[in-house]
Each structure stands twice: as structure tokens, then as C-alpha cells.
């Protein structure tokens, strides 16, 4: 799984670079617009350390943001599954708020909280939170009647059992959603860094953009891609391990 993901990324990245080079040589663009392979390699050798660290910095924020989102999404999803006033309120609020582009709120956070760790974390968490919440709400609100009937009829149904049944029956969907939200968390962090942060790979790309240095941007994209590929593969492996342990398959 891990190797497959990395290989897939390398193939896509190579295809992307190949297309850029094709464009460069067919339109005879200068190295200033699209750098040549030598320029890219030189940037890689000089910047790999700082860009690698910047990507890890961004990744760590994204991971923490995702964990916070998953915990929050499950908490609210479990409360919101009920057909009570609170449950309905959570559902309506989640559906309405998710329609709003969260990234547009980022400037407010930067104004209120500055450009440090907390702001980046909040943006990352908010961007991956709502899709997660909607998925968890959908899963937790849908009864698994053929299993739950017995427990309801005999008065044995507790909220913990209900959540356990619905989680177990939708384990594949949940692990896919959580693995997919990793990309959203990373995207959220990078977008936050683009806007106003003072660290991370998004901040590095912003500087490269001001310098109009495409080689730096391409190397930054490489580090982002490879890191997400590894992180997603690890999440998927974790999902498979949990599934095996729980379902015995």
C-alpha cells in the first residue's frame, strides 16, 4: 500500500514535470519561466533540507488539525444523530455552515490570533472538519435496523451500542473519509500559510512566488505530494489493521 502510493505519486509527478518540460521546449520558453532539469536538480540539492523541514512543519499542523477535526466530528456526529432538538440543530447548522467557504474566514483568524501555530491549526481543522462532520452525521443518523431491532425490542439499546453498531457497519466508509480528509487538512494548512503565516511549506511557496522561482515551487510541490502520499497510505494501513482486528477479515 505504502509503496504503491509512493510509486503512484512519482509517476504523476514525473508526468507533470514531463508536460512542463514539453511545454518549455516546444514553446522555447526561457529558464526564467520554466526551469530546465538541471535548474530543478540544483534547487533540490540546495533546498531539500529547508523545504523538507517546512513540509514536516506543515504536516505536523495538518495532522494535529485532522485529529482535532475527527474528535470534534465524532462528538458532534454522535450528538447530532439523535432526532432531538439538539440533534436537528446540529444537522441544520452543519449543512448550512459547510456551504460557506471556510478559507474566506482565514483573514479574520489571522487578525484576531496573529500568524502563529494556533491560527494555522484552526484553519486546517476547520477546512477538514465540515466534510468529516457531514459524513459522520450521515452514518450515525442512519439506523442499521436489521441489527438494532433486537436491542430496541428487548430494551437493551444504549447509545454506546448504537454508535458501535453504526461505526462497525460503516467502517470502510469511515476509514476512507478519514484518509481523504488528510488531504483537506494539508490543503487547509497550506492555504493558511499562503495567506499570512510565518512558517511552513505554504509560507515557503509564497516567498518563491514573490521571487517568481518556479523551480522552488516545483520542489515544494514534490515534498507536499510525497508527504501526503505517505501519510494517506499510513492512514489506510491503520484503517486496514483496525478492520482486520475488529471484523476478523
Amino acid at each position: 500500500m505504502l509503496l504503491k502510493r509512493i510509486l503512484q505519486f512519482f509517476l504523476l509527478y514525473a508526468l507533470f514535470i514531463g508536460c512542463l518540460l514539453l511545454l518549455k521546449y516546444s514553446l522555447q520558453l526561457s529558464d526564467y519561466v520554466i526551469p530546465g532539469p538541471v535548474g530543478m536538480l540544483q534547487t533540490l540539492t540546495t533546498k531539500y533540507r529547508s523545504y523538507g523541514l517546512a513540509t514536516l512543519n506543515t504536516m505536523s499542523i495538518a495532522v494535529i488539525g485532522q485529529v482535532v477535526s475527527v474528535i470534534l466530528a465524532f462528538t458532534l456526529g454522535i450528538i447530532g444523530r439523535q432526532s432531538t432538538w439538539l440533534g436537528s440543530f446540529i444537522k441544520v447548522a452543519a449543512y448550512n455552515i459547510q456551504a460557506y467557504p471556510i478559507v474566506a474566514l482565514a483573514p479574520i483568524l489571522f487578525i484576531l490570533l496573529g500568524d502563529g501555530f494556533l491560527t494555522r491549526l484552526l484553519i486546517a481543522a476547520m477546512i477538514c472538519y465540515f466534510p468529516l462532520l457531514l459524513s459522520v452525521l450521515g452514518i450515525m443518523s442512519k439506523p442499521v435496523t436489521d441489527i438494532e431491532h433486537f436491542y430496541r425490542a428487548t430494551g437493551r439499546m444504549r447509545w454506546q451500542l448504537e454508535v458501535k453498531i453504526r461505526t462497525f457497519e460503516n467502517l470502510n466508509q469511515l476509514t476512507t473519509v478519514i484518509a481523504g480528509s488528510a488531504t483537506l487538512a494539508m490543503a487547509g494548512t497550506i492555504v493558511g500559510e499562503f495567506i499570512a503565516a510565518n512558517a511552513g511549506i505554504g509560507y515557503t511557496i509564497r516567498i518563491a512566488l514573490y521571487q517568481s522561482d518556479l523551480a522552488k515551487i516545483l520542489i515544494a510541490l514534490f515534498f507536499i505530494g510525497i508527504t501526503i502520499a505517505i501519510y494517506q497510505a499510513m492512514l489506510e494501513l491503520l484503517g486496514i489493521a483496525i478492520r482486520r482486528a475488529w471484523t476478523g477479515k
Binding site: I147, F150, A153, R156, I165, F168, G248
Partner: protein, 241 residues
Amino acid sequence: MAQGATTTAESMSLICEKLTFTYPAKEAPILAQVSFQLITPGFHSFFGPSGAGKTTLAKIITGELHDYTGQLITNGLDRILYSHNKERLPGWSSVDHHLSKVITPSLLPEKDKLVDLFGLADCVNARFDQLSMGQQNRVNLIRYLLQDCDLLIMDESLANVDELTRETIILSLKEMFPARYFIYISHNAREVAKFCDSILVFQGSNQVHAPRMLQGCNVRTNTERNSAELDAVLLEIMNAA
């Protein structure tokens, strides 16, 4: 309206009078003027073609469906359970573990006895989805049988189980739970004619007449089997259906 009353076990009964029910989206009632009485514990049956209203009536009896007209009196039948053949057990642990968790510890020997009688001794350590459909239905039935209830409605609960095992199960249920009411919903005319005390025969979904209550052979373990009587009941069922 359904009425319940605290009565002794001997006076438990289920009385249904001119019960009519129409699903909200439909124009014609699925149940029209249904009247019957179950006044003795034992094996009773709802028999009829698919879509005739057997499951609907079962759900009305358990209180899952309301808004009917007529009367449904559940004298002393305070705990009514409805089991059906589409039910599943959670898949995170073995069947035996799940069964043990949903019955009181004092009933564990009964559980082991039923597992043996139902021919499930070899597969209780497997997970539910590893069992055949017949085994799944038998496991599901065991957990219902070991609940504290006065009336158990078994909606195709023995589907996909071979005839010989079904016979063994029904006979042992009669022996082990003589004070309990059972309503067995089945499409097997011979089986209900042979083992049931009374049979409410439903007609097709375009029924003209209300369901008719017939007397079955009510065969028990020690009962002498009379094939002429069985044939007569079968004939009556066919005429009524």
C-alpha cells in the same frame, strides 16, 4: 385501540376485533375487518401469500404500527417480541459471545441446550456472517427465545432451515416453552397445518374476505400423527387462502 391488562398467566389472551389498517400512501386497506382470538398459549400461525398483511398485523400487535381502527386487546401479554429472518447479529465477536451477552446468566444452560437442539454446536464460535442463512436464522431465534416475553412472533424465523431440523425445533419449542404464546408466520402450508394450534389464513393482497381462523393439528412430540386429519386441515387452508 390496544388495551393491556394485568392478568394471571392462565387468562392471557390476544383478541383482535374488526381491525382495519391502511398504509399512509395507499388507498386500499392492507388489513380489513380482521377478527380472531388466541386464548391458549402454544403455537399459532399467520399463513398466506406475500403481501397479504401478515407482517403488518405482527407489527400492529407489537405496537410498531398504530393508526388502525378496530380493537386489539392484549390481556396479560405485556411483553411481546417480534423476530424476523432478515435480522443480523453484530459482526465484531463470535455468535456465542453475543448470545451470552443478551441473556441472563441463569439461562446459560438453556442457551447451551438450544444450541445443541438447533444443531449449532459446531458453529457458535464463528462470527455471524460466517454462518449459512439457515444457521443465522436459528441463532437469531435462540436469542429471542431466551428473552422474558409472553408472546413471540416468529416471522419466517425458520426460513432456509431444512425440514427435519425445523420439525425438531418446533417440537422442542412446544416442550420447552409450554406457557408461551407463539405466532409463527410461514408460507409452508403443511408445516403450519401440522404443528400449529390455530391458523389465521390470509388471502391475497386483493382479498375480498377477512382472514379466517382455522384449527390446526397441533402435533406435539408424543402426539400420534393422523395423516387424514392433516389432509383435512390442509384442504381447509387451501380453501380459505
